[in-house]
């Protein structure tokens, strides 16, 4: 799927599953999708460490032009759901699909 319009049509569930996989990849598969779900999608509770967070921010920036500053916007990286909301908002502003 390419283009912002197509991306916007994607359901939150699709995007959520994509973010879960991105977290798993960002953590070098140390935190699995199952681990994330067991922690209700909360990244800290799932054991995402600082390197995992940095990798995740890198991929969010590359993939969606979504620059998250954890100092300014700590809530955006709190959970899979909050990342979905942030990415969704970024895409609505014209971010990359």
């Amino acid at each position: 799927m390419t283009g912002t319009a197509n991306e916007a049509a994607r359901t939150d569930r699709d995007l959520r599953e994509e973010i879960e996989l991105l977290v798993e990849t960002a953590t070098g598969r140390v935190v699995t999708v199952a681990d994330l779900r067991a922690a209700d999608g909360e990244l800290d509770r799932a054991g995402v460490n600082s390197i995992g967070y940095i990798n995740l921010m890198e991929v969010l920036e590359q993939r969606y032009d979504a620059v998250i500053d954890p100092e300014a916007d700590p809530e955006h990286l709190y959970s899979v759901d909050s990342i979905v909301r942030f990415v969704r908002a970024r895409l609505a502003e014209g971010g990359r699909a």
Binding site: G28, D44, A46, I54, E58, I68, P70, E71
Partner: protein, 495 residues
Amino acid sequence: MADGQRLGAAFLAACARHGERRAVVAGSEELTYTRFADLVRDRADTLDALLGPDLANVGVHAANSIDHLVSYYALLVAGRLPFLIDATFGAAELDGIRTSCGVPAFLFGGKEPFPLGGDVRAVPDSALSLAVLPAPAGAPEPRASTATCRFTSGTTGAPKCLEFTADAVIAAADTWVAGTGLGPGDRVLCLAGFTNGLAFNTSLLPVFTVGAELHLYQGPPTSGGISRAVSRAAATRLVAFPLAYRLLAAAPRADVDAFATVTRAVSAAAVLDPEVRRGFESLYGVRIADYYGIAETGPCTYEREPDRSEGLGTALPGVSVRSVELPTGETEVRVRTASMAAGYLNAPGALAERLDADGYYRTGDLGHLVDGRLFVTGRLGGPINLAGRKIDPAEIERTLLALDGVTDAAVFADTDANGETVLHAALAGSGRIGRTEVVDACRARLAPFKVPGRVTFLPAIPRSTVGKARMTELRRLVQDVRAADDHPQELEEHA
């Protein structure tokens, strides 16, 4: 004059020398040397009034900022003893520092409540706040010559506190300047926390001594963020850690032009993957110079030859490095520097025990020298190096053993699918507990970087007759378990 004040005076003298040159930049905020010194003097007066005559030991628990720098030098000028504390430390580490080092006052980033509570006061003209807690009883007295305290890993929840004299801090700065050619025309972009030796020894006093510019990095260190910061600063030097170079080397839309002003990139804190080095250097045309330093000793080696891509460089001026063969046949790296810590405040005698008969510090790193060039090949054991932070597995194991149902625990360094070091906890016991509960329990008691990412449950931890974990067998067992089931299990399955 107290030794700390002597260090503060050295800083103010540098400011006087460099006057209207730009000293430090963070985002849209910047200071000339003159303004920097004025703010430090004003802050020293403010802190004097807030701290009164009795509060001499002051922790600084905050992320990098100009405010942080001003406060650190102000504490020195005011004759207080600053304790530079990792901003990620939580309540357990902070309370350990408070009680074992006798630190009753903490300057902290004012957005969040201070983890230990206390009497919190605003610091005028600052985003930092001051928390004052009851003075701990029975804490050791710092040496009269101690000017700055920093921390390294501990085993009991209290990080070990390194005491540095003014001479040691100045020697580290002078060594770095002389050994790396840092000059007044340099603009240094630093990604490391001030509490880390990488930043403290390469990017604070050395920069100000020569009248260069220090640019503070703000935001997550993504490849795009770093490139934008390098471009804004027109940086001549980038001081970063291997992860940053990995991201830059792999960036799909690399802004190569942003690095046109960079003459050297400094890497330290962990081993740099040769592939990452090659990728970064070929993409950006900037050489990465390795730096080897130890929390206890300060800067040790630096790679000065542009064509060298192996090893960690040669000894910096005033530093002696040697490798010593151990009874096991392995060779350990030992160093002697003028920037060595005087001791651990909260572990008396422990640093002296790490020195050999000739006064060389036993680093615990395995390695050797070839024509004076240092090659580090592994660790003897002891603390795990996780992206530059030293972690003692024993501290985490103690936390794990306190969990209901856990009868044995072993924590060790593992590698994730991205090649990064990750903490792996192997647990044995009879209770019903899962990975989430283990992570939750560790998060409640330890700093985030000490929380194990991998958790594997075993019927028993293989140990030698003297109780030491048999690591080869342990690694094989956890590999077998994880190969059989990628999902977390519960101890009950093995009970």
